[in-house]
């Protein structure tokens, strides 16, 4: 089991990331508004840990993930990344061309849909070949050895490298995708719902594999999913997102028993648990998630919150540490958080 005290070093510090997609309309494709897919998110990821990211569809998980991998350029914000254990932090978004290319090696991604993640007309070897070649594996035989080694590390036969994607099942494909992400020896892998498209009986294979690889290679994961049970199983810390904002961040163990945010509470209670006997109290949220193009004023959750107060409709709560636990951050007027960011002890972040 990953032990929290083991990882203290911050690998990636996500600072005030915003990603707005323009909404265009009319003859001249004028921008008439913005989808605020990710709106001012600050998080950090420690080396060797798994940071879980949960939330409902459309809350901006994938967008945030893609910003981290730099598939999207954030509208605003910084991604401060520490390349070496004792090096300096550099903003990934303001690297020069060469540094930026080299940084691609460090952060990789596993995508949600294993069926579209592999090029259907390229066999596995060719799919791995180009990334390896451009990142310094110049010898073709070495590349082949490397692919064989990677396939075996995800429990697949080395000779599968000559096969085409359509010869593999979803679970096998996802394992190949994991191997591909690992081929350039990354530090950080953003896993965007890696098991959502898989059969229940296959999910466990992939989840366990990911845990094993993490232990073996000291990987850091940002693990995105909408299924809290899966996230809880995988993560050390969990960030709960709602409409482009992080509403609560706590260690996986804490979140289940000591949640503070009403949304987390509702989310937890909504997950059906495959156990009988204990009758849980279910909190049914009213209505639907509002559109991120036009989020409610004040606290974004107030339209569906069962504990809504007057202040929630006007003032948006900030994500702040709890008084009794600086590692537990909540954005809610009801939570007993520190008043002023300045009060946070310096070593807590």
């Amino acid at each position: 089991m990953s032990n929290q005290s083991n990882h203290t070093e911050i690998l990636l510090d996500i600072k005030n990331i915003k990603k707005y997609y323009p909404i265009q309309a009319g003859l001249f494709r004028r921008t008439i508004g913005h989808v605020k897919a990710v709106d001012d998110v600050s998080l950090y990821v420690k080396r060797g840990e798994t940071l879980g990211l949960v939330g409902e569809s459309g809350c901006g998980k994938t967008t945030l993930g893609k910003c981290i991998v730099r598939l999207h350029r954030p509208t605003e914000g910084e991604l401060r990344y520490r390349f070496d254990e004792d090096g300096e932090y550099k903003d990934l978004l303001s690297l020069d061309k060469k540094e930026s290319f080299n940084a691609r090696k460090k952060i990789q991604m596993v995508f949600q849909d294993p069926y579209s993640s592999l090029n259907p007309i390229k066999n596995i070897l060719t799919a791995f070949d180009e990334p390896l070649r451009i990142h310094g594996w110049t010898n073709a035989n070495e590349r082949k050895e490397r692919v064989a080694e990677l396939l075996e590390s995800v429990n697949l036969h080395a000779d599968y490298m000559y096969r085409y994607p359509n010869e593999f099942s979803g679970g096998q494909r996802q394992r190949i995708c994991i191997a591909r992400a690992m081929c350039v020896n990354p530090d950080l892998i953003v896993c965007d719902e890696p098991v959502s498209a898989l059969d229940v009986s296959i999910q466990a294979q992939v989840l366990n594999l990911m845990k094993d690889l993490q232990k073996e290679h000291g990987l850091t994961y940002v693990f995105i999913a909408h299924d809290l049970s899966v996230v809880e199983y995988m993560s050390d810390r969990i960030a709960v997102m709602y409409l482009g904002k992080v509403v609560e961040l706590a260690s996986a163990k804490k979140l289940y028993y000591h949640f503070e945010h009403p949304y987390t509470e509702a989310l937890l209670s909504a997950i059906p648990i495959p156990k009988i006997g204990e009758k849980r109290q279910r909190i049914i949220l009213e209505g639907d998630v509002p559109s991120p193009a036009n989020p409610p004023a004040g606290c974004r959750f107030h339209t569906r919150c069962h504990k809504v107060m007057d202040i929630c409709r006007v003032k948006s709560p900030e994500l702040r540490p709890m008084k009794n636990d600086p590692d537990h951050l909540v954005a809610c007027h009801l939570a007993d958080t520190v008043e002023d960011i300045a009060e946070i002890p310096a070593d807590a972040v």
């Binding site: 290319f101 691609r104 990789q108 991604m109 995508f111 993640s117 259907p120 066999n123 080395a158 992400a181």
Partner: protein, 293 residues
């Protein structure tokens, strides 16, 4: 490890092309098309071996002969051997159709890939051009251009290229639009693979199936158009034998009724070749459709 690799390499190297060829050979329609098309192309190429006659040689002593063992398809008004003319004419017709279609395909693929991948202003401009080319009736365009450029084999090929890229362009551009959102493209991006490499090495090969089908359709279309244009005298100069030009002779009722050997052989040649190419195209479409096993 090395031994594992070496031994397995022989066992499993199922190339996609090989499997597709297998699938193609299982498809009766495609095989029929393939046989017809190859046989006809071979016959045209091997024309000197199949007939001793020169298609251009006028022999006034042998005018208007009916088919016989000497002249398989008879001779025309000027005493030229119709069999030889059909074979040599096939060379030119197929050359025109195929090169027009290939040229159009190349243009379409290049423009389509760039527009589909990068989008933006470039894309908007090309889409407008493609619209312009396609709203003008194609035959009219061909007419105008061929009068403008003058009749001639090369000019006709240019004309076909100019009208033929649009379909391929649309197809490739559309495929690019959907493929560029696929996760495997994003995976390439995450590795820092360059844009051109992504566009041409990773996405484009996924479009080539439909492009090949379009190529066959265009080839067939252009051969028919060549025939039509030559028939009305706007295609290839009448001296050059093409299927269309040969049939040009059959403009008069009297020829149609009295000397059917003048127009039936090239007519059948056109029909058969177009049918063959189209069946090959249809067959290929089935073969390349990934949902069919």
């Amino acid at each position: 490890m090395a031994t594992v690799l070496a031994s397995k390499q022989k066992v499993k190297k199922s190339s996609l092309a090989k499997r597709n060829l297998q699938k193609l050979l299982n498809n009766k329609l495609a095989v029929f098309g393939l046989i017809v098309v190859t046989a006809m192309i071979l016959a045209c190429i091997a024309a000197p071996l199949l007939t001793p006659y020169d298609p251009m040689k006028i022999s006034l002593s042998e005018r208007d002969l009916e088919p016989s063992s000497n002249h398989l398809f008879g001779t025309d008004k000027l005493g030229r051997d119709v069999f030889a003319r059909t074979l040599y004419g096939g060379r030119m017709s197929i050359l025109i159709g195929l090169s027009g279609a290939i040229g159009g395909m190349l243009l379409g693929v290049i423009f389509g890939s760039l527009c589909g991948f990068f989008g933006g202003t470039l894309d908007a401009i090309f889409v407008k051009i493609a619209e312009l080319v396609s709203v003008v009736p194609q035959l009219l365009l061909v007419l105008v251009l061929s009068t403008f450029l003058g009749a001639g084999v090369q000019n006709l090929i240019y004309v076909f290229m100019f009208t033929g890229w649009v379909a391929t362009f649309r197809l490739v551009r559309g495929r690019f639009f959907s493929l560029r959102e696929e996760s495997f493209v994003e995976a390439c991006r995450a590795f820092g693979i360059g844009n051109l490499s992504i566009a041409f090495k990773h996405i484009l090969p996924n479009c080539l199936g439909p492009v090949a089908v379009q190529l066959t359709l265009n080839t067939a279309g252009f051969i028919l158009q060549e025939a039509a244009l030559s028939f009305i005298g706007l295609g290839v100069p009448s001296g050059v034998p093409t299927w269309g030009n040969i049939m040009n002779a059959a403009k008069e009722i009297i020829v149609i009724t009295q000397s059917p050997w003048l127009w039936i052989p090239p007519g059948i040649a056109i029909a058969l070749f177009v049918l063959g190419v189209n069946s090959l195209g249809d067959g290929m479409r089935d073969v390349l459709d990934p949902s069919q096993l």
